[in-house]
């Protein structure tokens, strides 16, 4: 599904990620874990194309997408939920959701219903400006907006940031449900252990832009094992 080979990337002349390699299968939920500033967002932005990689390769399906523009990647079915939710504050909830339709170039079920099914709250607030939603509601809107496009791969950058802990677990459940209902592959960058344990099938731990560990199955459920990568 996605194969990242020796990816190096950064900002201007600064290199943040060095030689990151990993691979994931169709339908898999992979977590990128690590403390603040280790390069999780840099990795996700490189995968969606908002940052041009300095070297290495990103292969999606059987296509090399390393040099593609973000909008081209999006139209191939890669959905992105930015850190801090990235809703368009002055657009209404409904308009935000409509923005998600673009990914869905194949013209599959285009209705906004799928978003309202997962998040009934958004239906109530559909004519409200997204900037007036609470942090948790914005997180839901951002995820819903991506789901509308029926992505094949969904990338979430710290969706739990700035929301209540129990809502974070709920996001984990939703991610898991979407993935199994629709066969979506998921990359999720996180520091919230509960959320990671709820949904992740595989974890890659980053430190200073390098992959320093890989966890799977039982290891993910082992609190101390994960904790190691998240505490200073």
């Amino acid at each position: 599904m996605l194969k990242v080979e020796n990816l190096s990337s950064g900002y201007g002349t600064i290199t943040i990620l060095r030689d990151v390699s990993f691979e994931m299968k169709q339908g898999e939920i992979v977590a990128i874990i690590g403390r603040n500033g280790v390069g999780k967002s840099t990795l996700i932005k490189s995968l969606i194309g908002l940052i041009r990689p300095k070297s290495g390769k990103v292969v999606y399906g059987d296509r090399d997408i390393t040099r593609m523009k973000p909008y081209e990647r999006a139209r191939l079915g890669i959905g992105y939920v930015p850190q801090g939710h990235g809703v368009f504050p002055l657009l209404t909830v409904r308009e935000n959701l409509k923005m998600g339709e673009m990914i869905n170039a194949s013209g599959k079920d285009k209705s906004l219903e799928i978003a309202y099914d997962y998040f009934p709250r958004l239906h109530e607030r559909r004519e409200q400006k997204a900037g007036t939603l609470s942090g948790g509601e914005q997180a839901m809107l951002s995820i819903a907006r991506t789901l509308i496009g029926r992505p094949k791969l969904m990338m979430l950058d710290e969706p739990s940031e700035g929301i209540q802990p129990n809502l974070a677990f709920q996001i984990g459940e939703i991610v898991k449900k979407c993935s199994s209902d629709m066969g979506i592959s998921v990359i999720i960058s996180e520091q919230h252990i509960g959320l990671i344990q709820t949904c992740a099938q595989k974890c890659y731990a980053l430190d200073k832009g390098i992959v320093v560990g890989e966890l799977a199955g039982e290891e993910i459920q082992d609190y101390n094992c994960i904790k190691r990568y998240l505490t200073v």
Binding site: I48, G49, L50, K69, P70, Y71, A74, R75, Y80, P82, G86, F88, P89, L90, L91, E95, K98, M99, G100, M102, I103, A105, Q128, K129, G131, T132, R145, G149
Partner: protein, 289 residues
């Protein structure tokens, strides 16, 4: 009394028509097009030359707008598109373009072109005669605002452009080809500048520097209006129109112009984001009712 209304409509339409192209480009791309006045001037030249070649006036106006739009498209592809994320450089570049156009037209067509006469004649109210054409311009300004509202609020292009305005990185990641949006925006903005020049062409002397009058007023209007092309243009066109028309009638056109500048300075102090900022923060607050 009617003279106030007439003056207001005249100022309002001048401001709205002069500013719309500039504000769309500024609001959407964050680029300050210093060649805006020269694009207006080009529109006036194109219209005048065609009208003299006996193209019917309405058609000449529309063709002039389209031509300047096309010209804007080329300028974007050659120059501006390299500066999308460098707003300061784009100011310098568009300033260069403005000099080039002014001097180029001077060399090619001389210091002035014999103008047309204002079409449509006059009408009388209470013993004073008023120009019909200027009332038509006011109508066109209102139609333009309605069209802009429809374009921005009810079309896919509008949705995508508002999203791009608010957060271009996220819009891109949602599948919007933002480079294409910018190119289209610059083209539309240029065409609107051309339209303004073509519409006002028959009312004034056609010279290579005629754009400056439009440029000054449109910059004031953008400053007062802020980044939102819709809210900004409509609100600041109305408010400045009222102020200018009252000053024009009571104290003369010199004070009308001064009044605009003073209002602009006050607005920058009190509302750094102009009327758009005010309205947008109001929309954000409504939740707390």
């Amino acid at each position: 009394m009617f003279s106030y209304l007439y003056q207001f409509l005249d100022s309002f339409s001048f401001l709205v028509l002069a500013v719309s192209g500039l504000s769309i480009i500024f609001g959407m791309m964050g680029i300050i097009n210093l060649a805006h006045g020269e694009f207006i001037m080009l529109g006036a030249y194109a219209m005048t030359i065609m009208a003299k070649a006996s193209v019917p006036l309405p058609l000449a106006i529309i063709l002039a707008a389209l031509l300047v739009g096309l010209f804007g498209f080329v300028v974007d592809k050659l120059v501006v598109c390299r500066l999308y994320d460098r707003p300061v450089d784009s100011v310098v570049a568009t300033w260069g373009i403005s000099l080039l156009l002014r001097q180029g037209i001077l060399i090619l067509l001389g210091p002035s072109l014999p103008g047309l006469t204002t079409p449509m004649g006059t009408f009388m109210v209470g013993g004073t005669s008023y120009s019909i054409y200027r009332m038509v311009l006011a109508l066109i300004a209102v139609v333009l605002l309605v069209l802009m509202y429809w374009l921005f609020m009810h079309t896919r292009f509008g949705l995508h452009s508002r999203a791009t305005m608010q957060n271009s990185a996220t819009a891109q990641a949602m599948g919007v080809n933002t480079a294409q949006m910018y190119s289209l925006t610059f083209t539309i903005g240029s065409a609107l500048a051309g339209l303004c020049g073509a519409l006002y062409g028959p009312t004034m002397t056609i010279t290579p520097t005629m754009g400056q009058a439009f440029q000054n007023d449109s910059f004031v209007t953008v400053i007062v209006g802020g980044a939102n092309p819709l809210i900004g243009t409509a609100l600041s066109g109305t408010v400045l129109g009222v102020i200018q028309s009252v000053l024009n009638i009571t104290m003369g056109t010199f004070f009308g112009k001064m009044g605009l500048l003073i209002v602009a300075i006050i607005v920058i102090r009190v509302l750094p984001k102009g009327f758009s900022g005010l309205v947008e923060s109001y929309m954000m607050k409504r939740k707390n009712r």
